[in-house]
Every structure is written in C-alpha cells, then in structure tokens.
C-alpha cells in the first residue's frame, strides 16, 4: 500500500479516535494546528488512564497487595513498550521523568557533575530554551563553556561549524532532533557519528521527533535521548530519558528520596539499580500507563504511515502557503516535518494568532521558547501551524483562507 493511500483510507476513521476534533472553538469547527505544543489524545489513552485511576489506583513497587502488584505490572509493561518503541537494549535504560525539560535537567546535573571547569558543551542556535538554560546553569555552576552551532538562512545546522567546534575539551553535544520552531529535521546520525569520532557523547532532544519520525537508539548509537509523553499523544507531566547504560551507571543520582535507594542508614545510603536510581519518589503512574496506550496507538497506526501522511500535508501546505503574497516562511530546510513557521508583512504574529482563533483555528504565535533562534531570523516572534497525521488538506485550505482574511483586514 502506498503512503498516500494509507492516509486517504485512514484519516476520517482516525479522526474519530480524537473526539476533540469534532468539537467547536469560538463557534467554529475546531482546526487544531498546534501539535508542536502538544498533540491530541486518542480515546484509548484516556481510557487507559481512566481505567487505572478508577479501578486500579495504587502505588507501584511498594505494596504486596493485589492492586499494587497489578499497577506495578502495568507500569513496567509501559516501560517495556517504550524500550521497544525506541529499540533500547534493556528496560533499565528507560528512565521516566516529568518531561523533556526534566530529562535534560537530570543529565545536566548528574552527567554534568562529572565535568570540570574548562570543559565544553556544544548546543545549537535552534534549541528550545529547555536545551539551553540547563546547560547555561551548569556552565555557571562549574565553570564550563557553552558553544553554539550556528543555523543557516534555511534553518539548517552549519555542520562544518559543528566539526570545528568539537575539540579535546568537548564533553557533550546536546542537539534538537527536530526543531519545534522551524520543523527542521537535523542529520542526527551524521552528528552522532561525528561526535563519536571524537569520543564525545550526544544527547538528542527528541521532543518534536518522537511522534513523527522513527527513532532507533541502537542504530543511531545515541547516548541520551529525551522526549515528552504529551507530544506523543500521551498525558502531560511525563517524559522519558533514554541513557546508555555505561553512562547511566557512571552517573550519580539526581533526586534523592524513596524508590531510588537500596538501603538507608544515617551512616551510609546505597542506591538502587537502574532505572530506579533515577526515579525518586512516586512516579506519574497513570501517565506512564497512558503513555503505554499512546505507544500502542502509534504502533497500531504505524509510524511509517504517520510520517508519510504528514509528509503529504507538508508538501501540500508548503505549496499553498508559498502562494500567499507577503508571507515569509521561517524554516525552509530541505528535510523538515509538517511545522510551518511564518510571518506576514506588517502584521504581528499575535494578531494573526488571535484572528485565526476567531475562525476556530488553533496555531501558536510567539517565540516558541526559542528566543535566540528568533533573534537569528530577526523577528520577535512567528506564527506557527504544526500539523499531525490526523490533520487534513481541507484544514490547510481553511488556514490559507483565514490568513488571506487577516491580510484583507489589515490592508
């Protein structure tokens, strides 16, 4: 079956899995084009969370009673689903966190504590603030230096510059796999190989990649990979940190507390094995169970079919938007996901956002937590329409009509 026919066959059916898509906003049929902020949740995810909370609520790893054992089994089954989804070697390499931001902070603190003054971390000019600020804080704490790979006018990384920035003092390359503001898909395999040829580990911020492109941590040979459940059709407040065991074993715990210990005495506390070592406190059990259901859902639709459908939306959207006079696309990389960042001549993105909202169209307007990137492109903000596989070409048509209407209003 070709990718195109997969999409045509499935999209109307798929939309029924997301009840929110049949609702209205401001009295208009909702057109949800803010998937980069958070993806919608299919019924099966909500039902899994609900089933747990209504019929199975219990703590994990602690009780000897029936409910606790059941919750623990469900919780650990989700970990296995995550492992298999990104093809990690072992479940112990899957750490549940509060989200992408929490995962990066964990690495910045724990792996960061092994680094010393004068060491260097490389990030890029297209990072989300969550892959900038934790490193700046580490640099401040321990006297490290942050190096930044520049971005070209199309919104692609300058790989030659990256090669020049890596040196004897580099201790980590932390790079976004897919840019949330531009949609750029970075050449992650190439970056990882390059860094590894200098014995430098790589952290991938896969927040925007995980729901759109297949990620295999063994094929990529990546050292750390972080993402958020809520951008993978799962609940908010939850994320995953994948770490290579050799690294995780060497790293000290980040948060201390219950569940992350082997034994505690006032004289000496010893820590639990992976992954518990990095999972202090009662986790987001319902969320983890929901994430498991989200992964089942994605596997059911198929990530390849998802990517193909989104690619078709990307090409259609690119063509339609490029025909609008006075619209400048921010992010025109050769390889990108269905994220459209744009500005209109003489119309502020916030006005675009509010006016599209009045048409029932949800987009995001602002700096998208990428202020240095906005500076790079000389704009204070952009409007961003980000599409997922459940979006349709006719929703892109609605977007285009609404943009033309905004332009007429401001003419």
């Amino acid at each position: 079956m070709t990718a195109a026919s997969t999409q045509k066959l499935a999209v109307e059916e798929i939309r029924k899995d997301f009840p929110i898509l049949s609702t209205t906003a401001r009295g208009r049929p909702l057109v949800y084009l803010d998937n980069a902020a958070t993806t919608l949740k299919p019924k099966s995810v909500v039902e899994a969370v609900q089933r747990h909370l209504l019929l199975g609520a219990s703590n994990v790893h602690r009780g000897v009673h029936y409910l606790s054992e059941k919750a623990t089994a469900d919780f650990e089954a989700s970990r296995e689903k995550v492992r298999s989804f990104i093809n990690a070697r072992e479940k112990a390499e899957i750490i549940f966190t509060a989200g992408t931001t929490a995962g990066i902070n964990l690495v910045a603190h724990s792996y960061g504590s092994l680094l010393k003054a004068g060491d260097e971390i490389i990030i890029s000019a297209m990072e989300h603030h969550s892959n900038i600020v934790p490193w700046q804080m580490l640099c401040e704490r321990q006297g490290l230096t942050l190096r930044v790979v520049p971005v070209n006018d199309r919104g692609e990384l300058d790989l030659t510059a990256l090669e020049q920035l890596i040196n004897q003092k580099t201790r980590l390359v932390a790079i976004v796999a897919v840019s949330n503001a531009l949609g750029t898909i970075n050449p992650i395999k190439h970056i990882i190989d390059l860094a590894h040829s200098h014995d430098v580990p790589v952290l991938l911020d896969a927040a925007q990649a995980v729901a759109h492109i297949p990620l295999d941590v063994q094929t990529l040979d990546v050292d750390f990979l972080v993402f958020s459940s809520h951008k993978l059709f799962g609940p908010t407040g939850l994320g995953v940190l994948y770490g290579r065991r050799e690294l995780l074993d060497r790293m000290p715990p980040f948060l201390g507390g219950g569940d992350m210990i082997r034994s505690v005495t006032f004289a000496k506390t010893t820590y639990a094995e992976l992954p518990a070592k990095f999972e202090a406190g009662t986790p987001h059990i319902a969320g983890v169970i929901g994430l498991g259901a989200a992964i089942d859902y994605v596997n059911h639709v198929g990530l390849a079919a998802i990517a193909a459908a989104e690619d078709e939306l990307l090409h259609y959207g690119k063509r339609c938007l490029s025909e609008i006079p006075g619209l400048r696309m921010i992010g025109t990389a050769e390889h990108k996901t269905s994220i459209f960042g744009f500005v209109l001549d003489d119309i502020h993105p916030h006005d675009i956002g509010t006016l599209l909202d009045q048409e029932g169209i949800a987009i995001r307007a602002g700096h998208h937590c990428t202020q240095p990137l906005m500076d790079r492109f000389g704009v204070p903000a952009t409007a961003r329409a980000s599409l997922a596989f459940y979006n349709t070409k006719s929703e892109i048509d609605s977007l285009v009509q609404a943009i033309l209407k905004v332009q007429r209003l401001f003419a």
Partner: protein, 154 residues
C-alpha cells in the same frame, strides 16, 4: 454562537496603521521603556510636562515609538491622544481606570469613568493572552510618571 467582542475594530486597525504621536519626543521631561518579553512588544513612551499659567503641571506632549502588535500600537496611540492637556494626576486616574477596564472590572456602559474613546478596549479581558498587549504603553506611562525608566509586563 459566540458573545466574543470584535477586538479588531476599525478604530484599532486605523491606529495600528497610522499611529498618532508616533515619534521620539526630543523635548521630553519624562520617558520610560516598556517591554513584554513574552511577545517581544517593545516601546518607549515620552511625556513633556510643564507648568501651566496657573502653576499646575500639565502634559503638553505625549508620544511613543517602538514595535508591537496592533493591539499594543493602537493602545499606545490612543493613550497619547488621551493624555495631551491632562494633569499627571488625571493621567494616573486614567491608568487605573484602564487597568480595571482590561481586567473586566469596570463596565464602561454602566459605571462612571473618564476613558472616553479608550473604552473600545473593553472586552479584551475575554482574551487573557492579549491583555498585556493593550496594557504595555500604559505601564510605560506609569513608569515615566513615577520616574522609573524600564517597565516589563512580566
């Protein structure tokens, strides 16, 4: 259907396109910069305050410059028009009335106020994300009157 008010009325679009008193006032006696880090709206408000023949302070000139969204620019433009000829005390009253208007705490049709045309911004409280846009110039005004040079709406 919706009870949403139309934010982008003609008056606002017109002030956005042709902002009044949109210049740097070289002869200013008071000035402040306003910045909204969330959306990048950034402007400067200038006042020229002098004594009138009866010895009271009067705002002779008010102007602004900078960049922002239509709501921000229109609000700033209309503010400068409303300020001319007013005393600093009246300007402060306008500031607090406008604040109440933006929060939806003042109903301009049933309660007394001196906002005049500025009441067009009533209803913006229905768009919480945009209230700051309309408020920015006014915060800068308040900063200028209080001799505070930079204000941020964060």
């Amino acid at each position: 259907m919706t009870s949403q008010v139309d934010l982008y009325q003609q008056v606002i679009l017109d002030h956005n396109k042709k902002p009044r008193n949109f210049k740097k006032l070289e002869s200013h006696t008071h000035a402040a910069e306003g910045f909204n880090p969330l959306c990048g709206d950034h402007l400067w408000v200038y006042l020229q305050i002098a004594k009138s023949p009866d010895g009271a302070d009067v705002i002779h000139e008010a102007a602004f410059e900078g960049s922002g969204c239509a709501i921000c620019k229109a609000s700033a433009s209309m503010m400068t028009m409303a300020l001319k000829g007013q005393s600093p005390g009246t300007a402060k009253t306008l500031f607090s009335e406008f604040q109440s208007l933006l929060k939806g705490e003042l109903n301009p049709d049933t309660e007394a106020h001196s906002l005049g045309k500025l009441k067009i911004f009533s209803g913006i409280w229905q768009y919480p994300a945009r209230v700051k846009c309309a408020a920015l110039a006014w915060h800068a005004l308040n900063g200028a009157l209080s001799n505070q040079q930079t204000v941020s709406t964060e």
